[in-house]
């Protein structure tokens, strides 16, 4: 695909992965439903080997999202649901770390945070983040995520 990085977000959203198909020149990229990908030869995996870890269609979406949000190149992970995105981020925490969350955050997020903190996955503090500075004093000094 030609370099789109100096176009507006609107243009980049519309043109994400357009005309990137090498096989037939499909303008809209084809969908790759295959769960697995053949090795080129013995001990020679291609870019993608198994769809759980990587898939061309998912990768195109990830690149588009990262570009729109201004993330790092290759900086997005597409998950199965919004809650799995939250679950994924929580993997960065370990027991003893503290997460500060808005006291009125989405009910599903609240349920997950309460459930995991009860089991000792991390410490949980709810705060009103619309009040500037409310989060800072809640920090526990030993937290991995804080240090």
């Amino acid at each position: 695909m030609s370099d789109q990085s100096n176009f507006s977000a609107t243009t980049r959203a519309v043109r994400a992965a357009i005309a990137t198909d090498r096989e037939h020149g499909a303008v809209v990229p084809p969908i790759h439903l295959s769960s697995t990908f053949a090795f080129e030869g013995f001990n020679k995996p291609r870019t993608f080997d198994y769809t759980r870890s990587g898939n061309p269609t998912r990768s195109q979406l990830a690149d588009a999202l990262s570009a729109l949000e201004g993330g790092a190149p290759g900086g997005a992970v597409v998950t199965s649901t919004g809650m799995s995105a939250v679950t994924l981020v929580l993997q960065l925490l370990q027991p003893g770390d503290t997460i500060v969350a808005p006291h009125d955050c989405y009910g599903g997020t609240q349920r997950l945070l309460r459930g995991l903190s009860k089991r000792g996955h991390f410490n949980l503090v709810f705060a009103d983040l619309t009040v500037a500075g409310a989060a800072a004093p809640q920090a526990a000094p030993r937290d991995r995520a804080w240090s």
Binding site: T10, S80, T81, G82, M83, A85, L92, L93, C105, L129
Partner: protein
Amino acid sequence: MVLIETPSNPLLRITDIRAVAELAHAAGALVVADNTFLSPALQQPIALGADLVIHSTTKYLNGHSDVVGGAVVAADKSLADELAWWANCLGITGAPFDSYLTLRGVRTLHSRIRDHLASAEAVVEALCRHPAVSRVYYPGLATHPGHDIARAQQSGFGAMVSFEVHGGTRSVELLAANLRCFTLAESLGGVESLIAHPATMTHSSMDADARAVAGISDSLVRLSCGIESPEDLARDVTEALNEVLGARDWVLSASIQTSSETLAPRTQPLAPSPQPADVILLGAGAIGRELVRQLSDVPDDARPPLRVCGLIDRSGYVFAEGGFSRDRLAELRALKSAGQPLCEAIGGRPAPALHAVNEIARHQLSRPILVDATPADTHDVLLAALGAGLDVVLANKVPLAAEQQLVDRLHETARASGRRILNEATVGAGLPVIDTLRKLLEAGDEVLSIEGCPSGTLGFLFGELGRGEPFSVALGRAIALGYTEPDQRVDLSGLDVARKALILARAIGFRGELSDVQVESLVPAHLSAETGLAPAEFLRRAGELDALWATRVNDARRKGKVLRYRAHVTPGTIAVGLVAVKLTDPLGALHGTDNQFTFTTARYRARPLVITGPGAGPAVTAAGVFNDLLRLEASRERRSVTEYGDAIPA
């Protein structure tokens, strides 16, 4: 780790991403922002300092409510790699087919968002002006506590709108049943509009107390505005809310909810009332805003049959057929107080005042009244309004102090259209000066002269001088209290008093021009506005006049007198200027911003009729306008009763 959700769900509270990120980073924490409610088309948290952005792509990114998916975007590649490792390890990566559909949705993200915003704007406007709605939560409203932050960190206010309806769950149920373009369902961000009731749906897992703490009442409704026609959505909301209002028993149910079940309801269902008169306000300055406040503050059970349906300022206008809600008026007042033009309000349109009046007059209006609370020459606007069938109430002195032939034309146009022009607030602010004059004349009295101090500003100034204050200090104090015109020389030159005197004189038969008024100016010729001296420069040099005024005041004091600026009016003559009067004279006893008017008439000759009281400031001036509105309204009811009586065959 700090998790941010902004705007929040469902109350759309705004968090300052940059401020929280700075604090969190100072403490060494990662910042995660959930950007589901806006999408990257309207907010990019990474640019504001977030380390990670999470999404439910189910919402705006896919946008068609046919995929369940999510995403994490990292500012830093190594963090992304760690997350990708975990996603594979846990087995929570997205399916290819879902990814395909989501990417297809992303292509139209920006154009969909534009349409979503247009819908939200139309819906918010409809909600704000509907009397069945008690409160609207939308970051685009100037009254929203997070408005300024939202304006700074977002490029649009989003298409999620929450509001409260009068009457609790019953009203919500009625509303949902009557909406045709909003489907009762959870989720959001799709092309189709949805309505959710957080208390029984999205937030039902919270107990009632937790909901109360979070501010989620049983009356709260959340809308996801889709990309149907904005006009259809606004109409749908208005019509469904009309049904809620039409049921009327919400008044009853509201009172039962707040009291014990065994208590009898104290509030009766609303009785049908006549269609209120539509008030269109020209000028949204201090007086206009005060009038809106006074109209809004009247308790419901004493509410006069008046509703504000249009506001016009220099920039443009806002109009709501059927009148604005109290919340909407509060929001518009806040916008104007913050110095913003009406054309930038939600639903605001840029237009010159004449065009605005013509546009508004094209609508179906109920006995409309135009209030002129500007200080400008509005002659053409008033002619258009009278011609279009609007009655006129003036706080503005300029139109009635204009050239005689222009004033004649205003009255002729009013007569030809069967409309009236009332102007109590043009003289003596809220004091019943014009009203008294009218009553005297109607009863056949003959007004020989009117004498008095019709300037609260000059009254205040002379009070201060009398207490020994230097002229420049007294003037500064009058400015600080908001008593003066923007160029103080309009007060000091006697022009303001001359205009009021001319209006009074014309009311008792004087025909002539402002130039016929003998005016004694308090501004020396070399400092007058005619020399081109800027107002600021005049103020700087006001101290040059201190000695002169100290001498004048002291000379008067030695004779046991005080200085006053007086107007004297007869049907043939008008004079305004400085006089020295005894302390025992009614004029001498004035203090503060008091005005005084002494009517000498055929019937009140030996002991003239005197009206005294504060005559400056927005509160009393707006009250004068309010009284005129009520008088118009009352006289029209009489008129319509007469017409009805005439229609019945004897």
